[in-house]
Symmetry: C2
Subunit: 314 residues, 2 copies
Amino acid sequence: MITLRLMAASLLTLAAPAMAQEEPPAPGSVVAAATPEEWVQIAPEDILVMELSPAADGSARRVVIQLLPPPFSQPWVENIKTLARAHWWDGKSIYRVVDNWVAQWGGGDPELDMDPGPLPEGVVSPMVPYVETWGKDGDEIVLWHPRDYLEDNYADWAQFFDGWPTAYAISADTTQLSGWPVHCYGSVGVARDLAPDTGTGSELYAVIGHAPRQLDRNIAVVGRVIAGIEYLSTLPRGTAEAGVYAERSEDTPIVSVRLASEMSDPPAYEYLDTASDSFARYVEVRANRHDSFYEVPAGGVDVCNVQVPIRPVQ
Amino acid sequence: MITLRLMAASLLTLAAPAMAQEEPPAPGSVVAAATPEEWVQIAPEDILVMELSPAADGSARRVVIQLLPPPFSQPWVENIKTLARAHWWDGKSIYRVVDNWVAQWGGGDPELDMDPGPLPEGVVSPMVPYVETWGKDGDEIVLWHPRDYLEDNYADWAQFFDGWPTAYAISADTTQLSGWPVHCYGSVGVARDLAPDTGTGSELYAVIGHAPRQLDRNIAVVGRVIAGIEYLSTLPRGTAEAGVYAERSEDTPIVSVRLASEMSDPPAYEYLDTASDSFARYVEVRANRHDSFYEVPAGGVDVCNVQVPIRPVQ
């Protein structure tokens, strides 16, 4: 039994912007009001298009993944592009689905009666999860767009960097800053065995549950699902060890995985620039909902509950 | 451009307990080592058993929900028990499923060609989401089990109370403390219209995505799915407005909803006492993974990433 201590320092406070409209802004209205210049088109060579076998009703199942740009999670992304160019995933499968955790696909494990075959030339291994570091030799450390930084339970703070949720830690002597991409719903990462240098990118997973932030810095985030996540999240859950399907006949076949830059009719997407004024306002509104349904604004938000707006380009 | 300020005060620090074993503890090993006295059996009158129509392969689909005990989210829970005793949900359906958001069921909306019929006698309305308040008239405020309190982006802090994740805020004059149950993956809440007093408990939803904490205090959490969440999370996503199924034929029929206390062969479950030493250690281990797979312990965790261990009783 202890007496209450005030912990106001742990509260995220975000000022509500002045409003001209009558209806308070909602996240959707803020995004709709963003200017064309605030949207950033995703490079076709950073888009991976995975076609699954058709659904039971014959409809197509296309999952679109945006790959993480530098400096984070290289060189896995290069491995993944090499694998896609070699059509390495064609004919492989989604073989593991765990509720509130991940859907996983790739070459598979010989122990599971899957023969992954040799990796294409140019795939690099071993690698370990990448953490960018700044501030060596006592450099001044610079932060980006301080308005939208966020408290974080798993790091000193979280922030959006070039469109991606990222987290940061300061070294004990305060001279170095490190940063890394974080695991949110829809994040795509590199599966590996127990040893940290065993992932090549040939086995990938997508998060289909609450952000498993304990995986940050332990497994490499290399991208995120930007369309078709429902074709992964609705798959039956596996019943064998670790959520692998008990029989290979339960797997979902992968028809093809291609880089959009190699397709004749590629899909195109753009995201709301996370350094833009509209994105800063979007974060503020997500943290302080005053639109019709809401009676009590939370006064805060966590980085994985701020989905970066992404939309198809016509 | 700003110079870095140290924000160590925002870090959750949890001491790693001294270990006797060789293999560092994992969440599962901590739970397995809990004593029988640390488990609390859930009262049969707090368990709701929802049988959905069988799956395409004929297998049963049973969703088990634990209802929230006092003081939180009463009197909705009483409404829900009244509805279950009247067999009100039998023959109704799951008619709305939104990816990374909710699956929703109940009597339905006449606009959706569903006739909910009159509510049973004894169902109370209107009600608004309940927030417990302590410390009126300058009482000393007492916290429970301070070891496992957690930083929180949506409140002054989060904590587990009688087995449930809850969040707390302190009034500006520091004389009052308020607390409420939070929305995590699997949480069950009372759907409502725009006005806050329009939910009766006859329409419910389960969270099937990242914790939508902005709903806290805006909609009442009344329980959580403790078994069979995969029968909700794998349902096809709705394609009409707000994720409602476009056709009623897409709905998943509800065969029956019963309180375990009224069943002849009821399922039984127990949860790990959140005031127990084992639960405190479980939180510490979830925040600081040192078991085989992990190279970098996070040093923190968020309240919705600490799933309360719940298991069937034989």
